[in-house]
């Protein structure tokens, strides 16, 4: 019985992606597989995945980090300013630094003052968005040509491979990753095992912030400059990618990287397929919401059913 549960958990994302593919292949008469459309799907999922590579650690410990949307905006503004005023080389270091600081603040408030991470990151989400708007009232910031050149297949796939490997290694093959997942399972166990859980959690938030920083530079590359609506709603997109991919909302041992890699294109595929079919933007959003609800419901229902002995 227990094996069935873990099997369904593993197979679920694959099943959904196959269903989506079949439905849209028929509905769009194969147009969804055109080269240019596949490239669009890739382009639209890549930033979500990069951000998710960090956020996954926060999800693993059972926490929430919804700062990513606003953080992408603030880090993007700083990166664009550094790039256009000093040198393009500084774009990534500056963006990562902003991410580290934001993640650090989130982590410290969460661990030292025991404020739930959802509340802290909600406050940061609002605060950072306001900060980005304020930064942009006095000036317009454009990205440099070097940054814009990042919006191509090669740099994106390289970044994705390198960061994906690093994040995957950290999550699956290190003590840090194991402890993160174990904290998600039962934090008390880890305290009684003599692990400094606060330090592990702090690191998880910091990595999450740093990855959002990297994602911000790629967002900048796509947009061509920083605006105050940059990254709006992005945090929800990243979370949706993870949960649609089958990562448990409460984190723990079933937090696996491949689920993120499946979940992100799944959302894009859904939107993209609906648009090609001629659905309006509003309808697309509605269907996106319904699908998320269905997927999470099925995951939870399957777990519930097997939990009652």
């Amino acid at each position: 019985m227990i094996n069935i549960k873990s099997k369904i958990n593993k197979v679920m994302p694959f099943v959904i992606i196959v269903i989506l593919l079949v439905v849209f292949t028929i509905a769009t008469k194969g147009k969804i597989f055109s080269f240019s459309n596949l490239l669009t799907i890739f382009n639209q999922s890549v930033i979500t995945i990069i951000s998710g590579l960090g956020m996954i650690f926060v999800v693993a410990i059972g926490g929430t980090d919804i700062t990513h949307g606003s953080l992408v905006a603030v880090a993007g503004v700083f990166a664009a300013m550094a790039a256009s005023n000093v040198s393009s080389i500084l774009a990534f270091p500056v963006a990562i630094l902003v991410g580290l600081v934001s993640g650090g603040i989130l982590g410290i408030i969460n661990t030292k003052f025991k404020v739930p991470s959802f509340m802290v990151s909600l406050a940061l989400l609002i605060g950072l968005r306001a900060y980005a708007t304020w930064l942009l009232t006095t000036q317009v910031v454009f990205s440099t040509s070097w940054i814009s050149s990042l919006d191509n297949f090669t740099p994106k796939i390289m970044t994705l491979v390198i960061l994906g490997a690093a994040s995957g290694y950290l999550l699956k093959y290190t003590r840090f990753g194991a402890y993160c997942k174990a904290i998600g399972e039962n934090e008390k166990t880890m305290i009684f095992t003599g692990i400094n859980t606060d330090r592990i959690k702090l690191f998880a938030f910091i990595i999450s912030g740093a990855m959002a920083g990297i994602a911000s530079v790629f967002t900048l590359a796509r947009l061509g400059g920083a605006s105050n609506t940059m990254g709006s709603g992005f945090e929800m997109r990243v979370m949706m990618a993870m949960f649609i991919g089958g990562i448990p909302v409460s984190g723990g041992m079933n937090t696996k990287l491949y689920k993120l890699f499946l979940g992100a294109p799944m959302i894009v595929l859904l939107e993209n397929g609906l648009v090609i079919c001629g659905a309006s933007g509003g309808l697309t959003q509605l269907i996106r919401g319904i699908v998320l609800l269905l997927v999470v419901y099925i995951t939870v229902a399957v777990e519930k059913k097997t939990e009652v002995q």
């Binding site: 290190t174 194991a178 880890m190 009684f192 692990i195």
Partner: protein, 501 residues
């Protein structure tokens, strides 16, 4: 038929491939106190939850007072005057004791949709008084109460419906020596008033003492129902396990046997909350030092305090060999220490993770190499070794542990630490919620670890356990040390109880 209060015929219940109850027949007459005995997984708890309407049987029927009885929920069971106290705590921590006691039964106190809380509290106090349940704070949130107090509230909740049949699943486990008296008083009342009790307990001595008759279950079937007077402890064990068990539970020597090297030196140890004050002792290599005391004597706080979970006010805990002073759990772990919490499921294990994940986490450091690389191979080797060494009964390393029996969970809980190279370990009630077979096994494991030089602090609610296992016993009274007894001539229950009180 009229004399029988509860009559069960041919009850069957399975969960997937597991047959928890097979053709169970059971009759309880008025005023009878019936014990249900059996190893973990023998189907006692399932039977109890069927009686109380928590679960429905696959087939079979039940009668209460000769009337057909097929409750779909505990509420329906209550209409037939059947109620139960469950093994796992079923209370809402944020609400007060009084509210919890009448949870879901608020109608009598409600006027125009508003609950009269004072009335609820008043009624709750009446219940406590009526059944002589002792003093429990009714207006503080349950989360702040001790497990013992919570159990009493739950007992009150079951009694508030004025039941004719009361089912108690492992209630005495959570109660210390002095509070158990409540159960004895209750039992006498029930007998006198012609009500019945069905008691599930792992403590067989207690089962024989409280119950008039004991029904033994094995693999979901009723083995036999026997009068307690005609039973001895050994006979009962034999019936439960289905074969004879040789040798005793405990060690057989009658003198202390430990080395002179001091492992842990505790001086004037005092906790900030005051649960423990001014405790000093030396824990030696190869020594089992038991800690006993009444429920509020602070014995459990001593364990978590020494490990560094609770904040210390003064005094010191020193690892003699390295001269290291322990402040936080990390320090204890670094110095070859470990702590087994009394609350296994909440603070010990990751219930929804696999056996392997649970086994390797404490040894993660030993399983990792360069660049923090955590070797899946080493993890698997370590988990397999522990799994086999401790004889865990499960379908494999990838099984999620939440469905394992208490005994198997405890084997994992203890095994994941003992597989490490430890200097000392603090065990808080290691045999709690564990059946006779596993209990004997755990004692054997503890004694083996002692042989190998491990220093063990054994905190326990059971005096027999302390007497049977310890080299010395530290008796605590009102958060202070009352005395330290050494294994020898006046090492008996009588002396300890005298000091405890």
């Amino acid at each position: 038929m009229q004399k029988d209060l509860l009559c069960i015929e041919q009850i069957c219940k399975s969960f997937g491939p597991t047959k928890a109850n097979r053709n169970v027949d059971l009759t309880v007459s008025k005023g009878e106190i019936r014990g249900l005995a059996g190893e973990n997984g023998s189907g006692k708890s399932t039977l109890a939850s069927i009686i109380c309407g928590i679960q429905r049987p696959d087939s079979g029927q039940m009668f209460v007072n000769g009337e057909k009885y097929a409750p779909a929920s505990p509420q329906e069971a209550a209409k037939y005057n059947v109620s139960m106290v469950v093994q796992e705590l079923g209370v809402i921590p944020m609400l007060t004791g009084a509210v919890n006691m009448f949870l879901g039964k608020m109608e009598p106190f409600t006027k125009a949709g508003i609950v009269n809380l004072r009335e609820v509290e008043h009624r709750a106090q009446e219940v406590l008084n009526h059944w002589e349940l002792g003093k429990v704070p009714l207006n503080c949130p349950m989360g702040e109460m001790s497990i013992e107090q919570r159990k009493i509230i739950e007992l009150g909740r079951a009694l508030a419906t004025d039941p004719d049949i009361l089912v108690l699943d492992e209630i005495t486990q959570a109660l210390s020596h002095d509070t158990k008296q409540i159960i004895y008083t209750l039992k006498n009342r029930f007998q006198k008033e012609g009500r019945s009790m069905v008691i599930i307990t792992h403590d067989l001595e207690e089962a024989l003492e409280i119950c008039e008759t004991v029904t033994v279950l094995r693999d979901g079937e009723v083995v036999d129902t026997v009068e307690s007077k005609k039973l001895t402890l050994d006979m009962l064990k034999q019936m439960m396990i289905g074969r004879e068990i040789s040798g005793g539970y405990y060690r057989e020597d009658n003198s202390p046997d430990y080395e002179q090297d001091v492992v842990l030196n505790v001086e004037n140890f005092t906790l900030k909350g005051g649960q423990v004050s001014d405790i000093s002792f030396k824990l030696h290599k190869s020594e089992i030092l038991a800690v006993c005391g009444l429920s509020d004597a602070g014995i459990h706080s001593l364990g978590s305090g020494l490990f560094g979970i609770d904040k210390r006010a003064s005094g010191s805990v020193k690892v003699v060999q390295t001269g290291y002073v322990l402040n936080r759990p990390q320090d204890a772990i670094k110095n070859g220490g470990a702590y087994l919490s009394k609350n296994r499921d909440e603070e010990g294990l990751m219930l929804y993770a696999t056996i392997q994940d649970n086994l390797f986490i404490p040894s993660a450091k030993e399983c990792s190499g360069k660049f923090g690389f955590l070797s899946p191979k080493k993890i698997n080797e370590l988990a397999t070794k522990t799994y086999e060494e401790f004889n865990v009964k499960a379908t494999g390393l990838n099984q999620v542990i939440s469905h394992l029996s208490g005994g198997n969970k405890q084997k994992i809980n203890l095994g994941r630490w003992l597989t490490k190279d430890l200097k000392f370990i603090i065990l808080d009630c290691p045999t709690r919620g564990v059946d006779a077979g596993v209990k004997a096994y755990i004692y054997q494991v503890i004694l083996e670890a002692k042989e190998e030089g491990l220093a063990i602090l054994l905190i326990t609610d059971e005096l027999t356990e302390a007497l049977g296992m310890a080299d010395r016993i530290l008796v605590m009274k009102e958060s202070r040390e009352a005395t330290i007894l050494e294994r020898g001539s006046d090492f008996n229950e009588h002396t300890i109880i005298e000091v405890m009180l």
